[in-house]
Amino acid sequence: MTEIMPHQNAIDCQNLWKIFGARADEALVAAKNGEVDKDEALKRFSCVIGVADASFSVAEGEILCIMGLSGSGKSTIIRHVNRLIEPTDGQILIEGRDVMGLNPKELRQLRARKIGMVFQHMALWPHKSIADNVAFGLEVQKTPKGQQRAAAESALEKVGLGGWSDRYPDQLSGGMQQRVGLARAMAADPDILLMDEPFSALDPLIRKDLQDEFLKLSREVKKTTLFITHDLDEAMKMGDRIAIMKDGRIDQTGTPESIVLRPETDYVSRFVSSISTLKYISASEIMTPGKAKSGAPEFGASTPLPVLLAAFTEGAEELAITDGETHLGRISSTDILQAVQTDLKRV
């Protein structure tokens, strides 16, 4: 295997602060010194702390889910990436370039070519046809008409809406409208997708369809994605990594497994307590030292619990955990049952 070159992150957000209010500067200093929290800032400076010292990065092609309840600042954070909101303090780098250093024209180019955005309530323009909606980013960049049309149609094709170009948004169902929203975000073939709770306004079944399709599409086109959601299940499903926000702060960032198995704060552990850990437990976490009986089926240390469980239901009495050559430990049916029991207790 070749060594992957250490590459730049697609999005780098460092110590981002956003404070709303006339006295934001004073509030910022006080908040940075730890003198005021969210409530105090509101009382003393009549300022609302939207984002507090948030840092995160998204690698090229990665999907980072920012999860938090309403008012946690997640929608504010995502709007800093394409500078729809100006930060009070901190830095946002897109492929190493500081977005705050861009002039208005460069910023418009960045928004039109580099970043596509999908909105919670679709935000399709009702006075434009589907094709014109999708091609908008290209149109503002004065791409030739023919190219616009071609790009719009191919983007619509990708989301399964080929042939709907000349309809209008109000002729489409909610799910179809959000597909158009997705097509619009991808029409200019941007490297980065910003998705602000894209599926939360949809019916559960349609939401699931769109999640699956987006994941499939995402694997094909490999776009760096910042995905906002208030739904932990959605975050677990969509994210390569998850950042959990509370009161403008990022409490914990990590893979879905690490968030569920090793919550770092009370808030996160309360949050993930409703999620079953069983899917994320691997052999190394429940094995006991010692050698398994000869003839026991062998598995790697990272094998997930459902696979181990299947081996037992197929008749195995004991499993040997190895790294190919060396023996690491063994798992009996009791170990499995204990893991299940622990999980049931915590839910």
Partner: protein
């Protein structure tokens, strides 16, 4: 005891004299500027007036019928045909065209001034804060009260008539433009910004089209107020249907006053219906959606 109970018999403030002195001062200072401002209005009004007066009634009616059909359909075309024919049959054609030209000139000027002001008000809370009391004031002043300062500042005749009509009629357009743009869904504006549209483009391509229905409701108000003011303005010697009514009353000529009055109603019907049709017809409707 008497002065305490009836103080106003003994002491009054000469407010009338102050107002007169104030206005005299304003007139002496600003008259040249105001007369210069009058020139383009006059030129535009004369252009519209000449065009309407020079058009033979048959052609005028034909144009209205075709326009009505294109905008909405046969019903509108028929309304235009009937109303204009009645006006012509009553012998009020020339007067109606004069009134109409004042209304058209005033409405065009209202749009040129009112639309940008409405846009500005929608974009700046601060500007709207200062503009709002002014708009309230302009809307509460009765129409003929406007006549006094306008006569003093601009004199009498058709051009001051257009100016006073503009003052009276522009408010709803400003208000509803402001309201319409503020009412555009925030995420639709944000989406346009997120895909790289400039502020000008957002205004022209997103906000104004989406506020269209509200703005056109304001325009409709402005048109109808213009018509009513163009009639009241006959008091400062503005020609047209209003003068027929005013002179009819003055000479106790009931026939002339009635013809003028009915002419005003018929003109109002045509103007209102056509402007409303303009508001209802969107490109999509016409495409047959």
């Amino acid at each position: 005891m008497d002065p305490l109970l009836n103080p106003f018999d003994y002491f009054t403030v000469p407010f009338g004299a102050w107002a007169e002195a104030g206005l005299d001062y304003v007139v002496s200072v600003s008259r040249p500027t105001l007369l210069a401002a009058k020139v383009p209005v006059q030129a535009f009004l004369e252009f519209v007036q000449d065009a309407l007066r020079a058009t033979p009634p048959t052609i005028g009616i034909a144009v209205i019928v075709v326009l009505g059909y294109l905008l909405s359909g046969w019903r509108l075309a028929l309304t235009g045909l009937v109303c204009l024919t009645l006006i012509g049959l009553m012998g009020a054609w020339q007067a109606a065209m004069t009134t109409l030209s004042i209304v058209i000139a005033a409405v065009v000027i209202c749009v040129v001034i009112g639309l940008p002001l409405g846009v500005l008000a929608a974009r700046s809370d601060r500007f709207f804060k200062y503009l709002r009391p002014l708009l309230d004031l302009m809307q509460t002043i009765p129409s003929f009260v406007y006549l006094v300062p306008v006569v003093m500042l601009f004199g009498i005749g058709d051009t001051p008539g257009v100016i006073v009509t503009c003052f009276f009629a522009v408010t709803p357009l400003i208000r509803l433009t402001n309201l319409g743009i503020r009412g555009v869904r925030e995420d639709l504006v944000e989406a346009a910004r997120a895909f790289g549209a400039s502020e000008t483009r957002i205004l022209i391509g997103t906000q104004l089209p989406l506020a269209r229905a509200t703005i056109l409701a304001g325009l409709n108000q402005t048109v109808l107020l213009s018509l009513s003011m163009a009639v009241v303005a006959s008091m400062i010697s503005v020609a047209g249907l209003g003068r027929m009514v005013l002179e009819g009353i003055g000479r106790l000529d009931f026939g002339s006053a009635t013809v003028g009055g009915i002419g005003i109603v018929l003109t109002a019907i045509v103007v209102d219906r056509y402007v409303q049709a303009l508001g209802a017809a969107t490109p999509r409707d016409r495409a047959g959606g």
